[in-house]
């Protein structure tokens, strides 16, 4: 049967649309010209400026600290919540689900300003701690959804089998359920980490003077800094994203084969 070629053409056009600005940024990052514009020769000076900027590294360090802390905490909280949602049905879990679902459907600016006013009202000083609290709050929902999705595919009869063969509940949980579920929990954690290191809006509201993260620093560079240095930074981050996405796909395939 003849198929329309419109879907394929649209897909190709969309991919061009997706990558065209990114390719342009990559080329511009090697342009010696200070104000973008016409090509004035190949240069690595913007990368040099970038790598000698101590602020970038301080912001990167803050980003990673917040990312690791909020990933670990939201992985634990989200996995526990997913177990509760999967095992128990009833009014309490319906409310629980609603509570976890809500942060996914409110615009992030709302979460940012409400947490800011909450901290202001309690006279809590804005720092990496307040940023981490904010990040955990939005990461929990994502981790829960991912782990819950995996739990729904999980065959719980292997748990019964383990217990029939003499394992107590804790052993069955530790030796059977957790290892089999690990790829799912890890996938949730990876999602949380990416969301955390990427977040600007919420972080912008709850970060103080000494707690600039990389996205917040990029934003201030966009407002006041020199475009070519941002281009250089963009290329570095693009490369990191590329490697991370490839790795997560690799991880996913590994997980699939084990399951």
């Amino acid at each position: 049967m003849k198929r329309s070629s419109l879907p394929l053409l649209t897909t190709i056009a969309v991919l061009v649309f997706f990558y065209f600005p990114l390719v342009l940024v990559t080329i511009e990052s090697f342009n010696a010209s200070k104000y973008g514009g016409p090509w004035t020769g190949f240069s690595l000076r913007w990368y040099k400026t970038l790598f000698t900027d101590a602020e970038v590294f301080r912001a990167l360090k803050n980003t990673l600290i917040v990312g690791v802390v909020s990933t670990l905490v939201s992985m634990v909280l989200g996995t526990v919540a997913a177990f509760a949602l999967h095992r128990f049905k009833g009014k309490l879990q319906a409310a629980h689900y609603g509570l976890i679902y809500l942060p996914l459907v409110v615009p992030d600016i709302l979460m940012g300003i409400s947490l800011l006013l909450f901290f202001v009202a309690l006279k809590v000083e804005l720092s990496l701690v307040t940023i981490s609290i904010a990040h955990i709050s939005f990461c929990i929902s994502y981790v829960t959804m991912v782990v819950l999705g995996r739990l729904q595919d999980f065959d719980f009869s292997v748990m019964d089998a383990a217990q029939d063969l003499g394992a107590d509940r804790l052993t069955a949980f530790r030796k059977i359920l957790l290892p089999l579920l690990a790829p799912g929990i890890l996938a949730g954690g990876l999602l949380a980490f990416t969301l955390s290191i990427d977040d600007f809006v919420i972080t912008f509201f709850v970060s103080g003077p000494g707690s600039t993260t990389l996205p917040v620093y990029i934003y201030s560079m966009m407002k006041h800094g020199s475009p070519p240095v941002i281009n250089a930074l963009s290329v570095v981050l693009l490369a990191v994203t590329f490697v991370l996405v490839l790795y997560s796909q690799f991880l996913n395939h590994g997980g699939k084969e084990n399951a």
């Binding site: 511009e28 006013l117 709050s137 819950l148 963009s234 590329f242 395939h253």
Partner: protein, 335 residues
């Protein structure tokens, strides 16, 4: 075993309390605080004062604000409609591609999705810049006047919104299309439906859950957008999000910022509530969770085997109806 019941209860509370506590403390209470501060008077040096007042809410009647709300609504609506229109053929194409191609194409779609969104916005700012490549090309093709500005208007905001949110629309539509049984389309065509007719009457209803998820995943962040209009928009394309940030950081008028946040929240609730009623589907939350589980995690290769095939009754009904029509025609031919 009667002792099982209290133990189950205790276990349930033990597993539920941590998130319940965390999200109540850091999500529900702050939201209530924001809404409460809208009723506080503004303090002259920023922050908020003592007592309660309705003045801030009255000030939202100032003609400035309804205009901004209206603009926020239409910019978001256009961007969402464009995203869905573009995502439909892309999701369809991805779902029908061979396994190998599908993996490769998904990877290409997912990479911009994971790229820091400030960087993507900044890339567009350079593309649209007066000295940028797009402007020069368009001028050379005589498509725009040399003094036209591509930046700092509602068009630029919508374009960058589509760029930024398009993966949010593609992923749920693809996730739904992947579970769609494409032989139904062929069946419809065998039964006399046109290609486009089959697409509209079978495919669209078949993936309607994915469509609604896609709409919400674009519309909600669009309504709350702040960075995009801030970077590529201008004074004529300010949205509610800009005003909230301006009141918070520039004027330090927290009651005003709170009232605007309440306004945004009401807008989002009315729009999403309206969509729910419109589509009359109650299982969206689970559907969103599933599509997140399938897409957000780099789980790019969910196979049809491990997911139950979704064949909504509507399609079956339609096919049955077509079948009936055909039988009737055959009978007529026979007589």
């Amino acid at each position: 075993m009667p002792t099982m019941i209290p133990r189950r209860r205790r276990e349930e509370w033990l597993l539920t309390l941590p998130t319940f506590f965390w999200l109540t403390l850091f999500f529900i209470i702050p939201t209530v605080i924001v809404l409460a501060i809208a009723f506080k008077p503004a303090a002259p040096h920023g922050g908020f004062g003592e007592g309660w007042t309705l003045r801030t809410l009255m000030e939202l009647g100032n003609p400035n604000y309804p205009a901004i709300v209206f603009r926020t609504l239409w910019i978001s609506a256009v961007a969402t409609a464009l995203c869905i229109l573009i995502a439909l053929p892309v999701g369809y194409c991805l779902a029908r591609a061979s396994r190998k191609w599908r993996q490769f194409l998904m990877l290409l779609v997912v990479i911009p999705f994971w790229t820091n969104f400030l960087i993507r916005i900044f890339a567009w700012k350079q593309v649209l810049h007066p000295e940028g490549i797009l402007k020069k090309t368009l001028v050379a093709l005589h498509l725009v006047a040399p003094d036209a500005t591509l930046l700092y208007n509602a068009g630029a905001v919508m374009l960058v919104m589509v760029y930024t949110y398009l993966p949010f629309a593609i992923l749920p539509i693809y996730a739904a299309a992947e579970k769609f049984d494409f032989s139904l389309l062929e069946a419809a065509q065998d039964l006399g439906s046109s290609r486009l007719g089959a697409f509209y009457r079978i495919f669209i209803p078949g993936i309607r859950r994915g469509l609604l998820t896609a709409t919400l995943m674009v519309l909600i962040p669009a309504l709350g957008a702040y960075v995009i209009p801030d970077i590529v928009g201008g004074p004529t394309s300010e949205m509610i999000g800009n005003k909230i940030a301006q009141r918070t950081f520039v004027d330090r008028n927290l009651p005003h910022a709170s009232a605007l946040t309440g306004l945004l929240l009401v807008t989002v609730l009315v729009v999403t509530g309206g969509l729910y009623v419109l589509v009359r589907m109650r299982k969206i939350p689970r559907a969103l969770g599933r599509s997140l589980a399938a897409t957000g995690t780099g789980n790019l290769t969910t196979t049809a085997e491990n997911t139950a095939p979704v064949t909504p009754e509507s399609i079956a009904d339609l096919v049955a109806e077509e079948e009936k029509n055909k039988e009737e025609n055959a009978e007529e031919d026979a007589t």
